[in-house]
């Protein structure tokens, strides 16, 4: 029997010739590498070592880069009720993404994700649960659904729709997100709705939105096709591994220059430095200053891309015409009418940058803790024209370390820098996000913003902050789908306490086995000001499911149902079902449909996931991964949407998709904002004279997402953030504290870290990286158990109406008593390493048991409404030695930057 001890095996079965072969993609990070599933009945004979004897058609031992099966890539699952062997390995025939079958460790080990009671997946939920006398007990679907729906209806009728809060993943396949958002936004129609990574349903990158950049416009080829690539707030080797190994690394190997903004030097950055890359190792939250200073140097030298700017940047009139963003009724307009961001065009921006003392390179370098020469070198790499007068092709990619430290300021700054460098809209000259989770969202209903009681200064409402809404006692029904809610938000221990108060400590607790009595008790809880929690997930999460949920629904997931999803270059693929979901687990779309019918909503009569996908497709029209035309092509060929997509295999097709009605050809879109797209290209796509038939063509194909199709260049004042930054500066013995992902568990932590013995062995518990100088001062060595703690975790308390211009600014909130200071503490194993910046500690982004978000301030970026998860401050002290200090079997304390 497998245990969480990693016990290496020295043999593995090979798939035989008669194995079924199905295609899928990795369930985890945005890159979505292609995989093949080989499936054959147990006892039907394994493959042999000769090419003629196995499904790969190659002789074993296999050679470098050929197909191979590691023991962890084999599993045994149930298929149609019978045990089958499965082997899941990267698709060696892949021509895109993970070309030739490259893979990360997360995807490489994905066979171990499948439910098999002999492995640490044995705690998958297999039946609905209802909490009776404090214990979650198995019940029938009908019993659980009747309770959840009747209490839900009561809450809406008595306390209003906003008392029904829905917190859901944004990414776990279009069929599920469509069903969930149709239910929550169209039918429940609650403003207390948001996704797993933000307290309110707002854009992740306000600066990109304002400039007119799509987050995922670039193609993966673009990331390796620049002359200079700037990467902010991530090391794509750690996160987005295959973009690094298949695109960025080959680019650097042929001479692409790189500039990195990152407080740590991890493996990908260390390799880049060996190739001449420039690593700007700044303090978290200082990016706006450094980017502003680089822009200033470029403008002082006159290195900006004048032709590009002339053609593609809005002037004052264009920017004001519809405020550059369409109707007046947009967040952009509310923000810009304050005059803090909008410019009259490039010259106005230039004048502003040159006048900012904050962006003086010496000042920026001092605050960021970097050598000032790096600012000048970066400017040179990014924008200095070549000797022959040509310009370097520059691309810029960002991710959470950057946009979750000064969300608005940083994303505006980088958009403006990209624009003056001529990035955005040409092959190898792009700007975008690298991405986090895959893109699996399709909207089945519009977010009812006008029902949100939260108003920012200016004119309009902002999406409701569901954490503060709950914190101030307004959430009577919390419907949580595939997220922890608590640990994944900041100031998480305060949120935990509030949930405990509203749920567990409420006197109305279920003591009966009678359905009606249970329903009545839970209704009484909501009427008394308490909260009822229902939770859909694949595993029972602590605390949201294990401690707080009154009703739990077991979800079926990857490999257990046919699903559609797109990756970070909008590539749509079908993730095929290849084995039976455990027990009575059902896909989320099914669970939602059952809830909806009981709530009295129509339009939830789907029989299978293809029907959901086909209904959802028209809602994807016009968005970046529009898949409606795949359905049109499928139907023209007498197929279903899922069948057509299965046919496209692991290559899939890049959205938005188009159907040429004359030739019957289905085409995808390599990059958005493609200003080089020719008339011939469009004609081939069947769009010679614009949109034909039901094809929908919008501006972002060939222009930018603004009123005029040109870029808005905006100001990015440091002062909107500086009070918060300064308040967070370490005092006394404190150190700066940030957090992030790590290669071995990137975007897979929701099920792999506790359930892959090898991953568990590598990262058995929470950890924190500390610079050797800081560690020495505190008597800390690698392997010591440490306490991370803070007496000043700032937490914003209430849903408020902003009236005056700066009501939401941190110092004003503080002055007005809207911030409480709470305590937070988590333990961790110390890793003393020079690859983290001195004065800064770096922790695991989420360990479910010891969430580092406990120490990060629960204060939103006041312009956007997102948390700045990466900004924090904490003390650290040794509390003992962990077992890993002297045990050679688990963890590693070797630095990640050895090249």
């Amino acid at each position: 029997m497998a245990t969480n001890y990693y016990l290496p095996e020295d043999s593995v079965p090979l798939p035989p010739k008669h194995a079924d072969v199905l295609t899928t993609c990795c369930d985890y990070c945005i890159v979505a590498c292609s995989y093949k599933v080989f499936r054959w009945p147990l006892g039907s004979g394994n493959g042999g070592t000769k090419a003629a004897e196995n499904a790969f058609g190659i002789d074993f031992p296999s050679g470098i880069l050929q197909a191979w099966v590691a023991p962890a890539q084999h599993n045994v699952v149930m298929h149609d009720g019978n045990p089958h062997n499965i082997v899941i390995i990267p698709d060696k025939d892949a021509k895109v993404v993970n070309k030739s079958g490259d893979s990360s460790m997360r995807g490489g080990l994905i066979a171990a994700k499948c439910y098999n009671p002999k492995t640490p997946t044995r705690d998958r939920m297999t039946t609905p649960l209802v909490r009776i006398n404090g214990t979650l007990q198995p019940v029938s679907w009908e019993f659980a659904l009747d309770i959840a729906a009747e209490v839900g209806r009561h809450v809406i009728a008595k306390h209003g729709t906003n008392a029904y809060s829905v917190k859901t993943y944004s990414y776990q396949y279009v069929e599920n997100t469509y069903a969930i958002s149709k239910y929550a936004r169209r039918h429940v129609n609650t403003a207390a709705f948001t996704f797993h990574d933000t307290p309110s349903d707002v854009t992740s990158t306000p600066g990109f939105r304002d400039a007119g950049f799509d987050n995922f416009g670039p193609s993966y080829d673009d990331w390796g096709a620049a002359d200079t690539l700037m990467v902010c707030g991530t090391d794509p080797y750690e996160t987005k591994t295959i973009i690094y190994t298949q695109f960025i690394k080959p680019g650097m190997d042929r001479g692409m220059k790189t500039v990195w903004l990152n407080p740590r030097e991890t493996a990908g950055i260390a390799y880049a430095k060996k190739r001449g890359g420039l690593h700007i190792q700044l303090y978290p939250g200082t990016d706006n200053l450094v980017v502003g200073a680089i822009a200033r140097v470029i403008l002082e030298k006159g290195w900006e891309d004048k032709e590009w700017i002339k053609k593609w940047v809005n002037n004052g009139w264009e920017s004001s015409s519809g405020f550059g963003q369409g109707t007046r009724n947009t967040p952009w307009q509310w923000r810009t009418t304050w005059g803090k961001f909008q410019t009259k065009g490039f010259e106005d921006y230039k004048k502003w940058v040159l006048a900012q003392k904050d962006f003086d390179p010496d000042n920026a370098a001092k605050i960021a803790g970097i050598p000032v020469e790096q600012i000048y070198t970066a400017a040179e790499y990014l924008a200095k024209p070549n000797k022959d007068g040509t310009r370097p092709k520059t691309s810029i990619g960002i991710e959470k370390g950057f946009y979750w430290s000064n969300n608005t300021g940083n994303t505006i700054a980088i958009s403006s820098l990209a624009t003056i460098c001529g990035a955005g809209g040409r092959p190898g000259q792009v700007v975008g996000r690298f991405g986090g989770h895959q893109r699996g969202g399709t909207g089945g209903g519009k977010y009812p913003r006008n029902k949100s009681p939260e108003k920012v200064p200016g004119r309009r409402r902002r999406a409701l902050d569901t954490d503060r809404w709950l914190y101030s006692g307004n959430t009577r029904f919390a419907h949580v789908i595939g997220t922890t809610w608590i640990q994944s938000m900041t100031g998480s221990q305060g949120l935990f306490n509030k949930f405990r108060e509203l749920v567990t400590l409420n006197p109305h607790q279920v003591r009966s086995f009678d359905k009606q009595e249970i329903i009545d008790t839970l209704k009484q809880r909501t009427d008394s000001g308490g909260t009822v929690v229902i939770n859909q997930d694949i595993y029972l999460r602590d605390p949201i499911g294990a401690r707080f949920a009154d009703v739990v629904f077991p979800a079926a997931t990857w490999g257990e149902e046919d699903f559609i999803r797109a990756n970070g270059e909008r590539r749509l693929r079908l993730y095929q079902k290849f084995y039976d979901a455990p027990g009575d687990a059902k896909p989320d779309w099914w669970i939602i449909a059952q809830m909806a019918k009981r709530m009295g909503y129509d339009g939830f009569d789907w029989k299978n996931s293809n029907e959901v996908a086909e209904e959802s497709s028209r809602f994807s029209r016009g968005n970046r991964k529009a898949y409606h035309m795949i359905k049109v092509a499928a139907h023209a060929e007498g197929k279903t949407l899922h069948q057509k997509l299965a046919e496209l295999g692991t290559e899939g097709i890049q959205g938005p998709t188009f159907y040429n009605q004359e030739t019957g050809e289905l085409t995808g879109t390599k990059r958005l904002h493609d200003t080089t797209l020719s008339k011939e290209d469009l004609a081939r796509m069947g769009l010679a004279d614009g949109a034909q038939g039901v094809n929908m063509v919008n501006k972002k194909m060939t222009h930018f997402n603004s009123q005029t199709g040109k870029v808005n260049i905006e100001k990015h004042p440091w002062s909107l953030f500086s009070d918060f930054y300064e308040w967070l500066l370490p005092k006394g013995d404190e150190l700066r504290f940030t957090n992030g992902r790590i290669n071995e568990i990137w975007q897979s932590g929701f099920d792999d870290v506790e359930r892959r013995p090898y991953v568990t062995q590598r990262w058995p518990e929470n950890w924190v990286e500390i610079h050797p100088d800081d560690a020495k001062k505190r008597g800390i060595e690698s392997g010591d158990q440490v306490m991370l703690y803070s007496e000043r975790v700032a937490a914003q308390k209430n849903t408020i109406l902003g009236v005056h211009g700066n009501d939401f600014q941190f110092s004003e909130l503080m002055k007005n008593g809207q911030i409480e200071l709470t305590k937070g503490a988590v333990t961790a194993v110390a890793i003393v390493t020079p690859h983290v910046k001195k004065g800064l500690m770096f922790g695991n982004m989420i360990d479910m048991r010891q969430p580092t978000n406990a120490l990060q301030p629960r204060v939103v970026d006041w312009i956007s409404g997102n948390y700045n998860y990466k900004m924090g401050v904490a003390k650290v002290k040794k509390i003992g030695e962990s077992a890993y200090k002297k045990d050679f079997r688990s963890m590693s304390f070797a630095p990640r930057n050895i090249v």
Partner: protein, 195 residues
Amino acid sequence: MTTPTNQRDDSAKAHGKCMLNRRQFLMAGSAAAVTASTVSISLFPGTAQAVQTKASVLGYPRQLIGHLSKLKDHTPVDFNYPDDGPNSQAMLIKMGGVKAGGGIGPDRDVVAFSYLCTHQGGPMQGQYKAVDDQRVLGQCPLHLSLYDLRRHGIIVSGQAYQSLPQVLLELDGDEIYAVGVMGLLYGRNENLMNS
């Protein structure tokens, strides 16, 4: 499972007995466990356990791969194991007095590992590095995986599907024998394909 005895028997015949399987080896691989373990083996001469039974792994050949006195710090000795077939390239290394899981010799600093990255078989010859008190193999030239040689070849950073296969060693006087492999060698479906 066979119980180790206190009888010393170095013969090749005795080697054929399953005295210690790789799982026991792994469980005994921690510094804390080894000195107190009842699964005491002769991997650590100079200790009380040194005179005890030789350990070996069922089915693997016992192959002389070097002499302790001839090893130079940080200078790998290449050998093939468990046979001379494809993907058998391995290295024996004395890591300058830094103790390692499964290490032999007075300082427990002598270990042996496969040269092939467990991700896609990238060759890591020439990639041994000593940085402060860390001992690593990598980055792999293909996709930059890095392995910790102090900790049974566990991945430090990168793409591995498993730890770097560690070749189990026995010390007999000055002679170093390879006696087994912990983990599947890249490209093979069984380590002992040719036997």
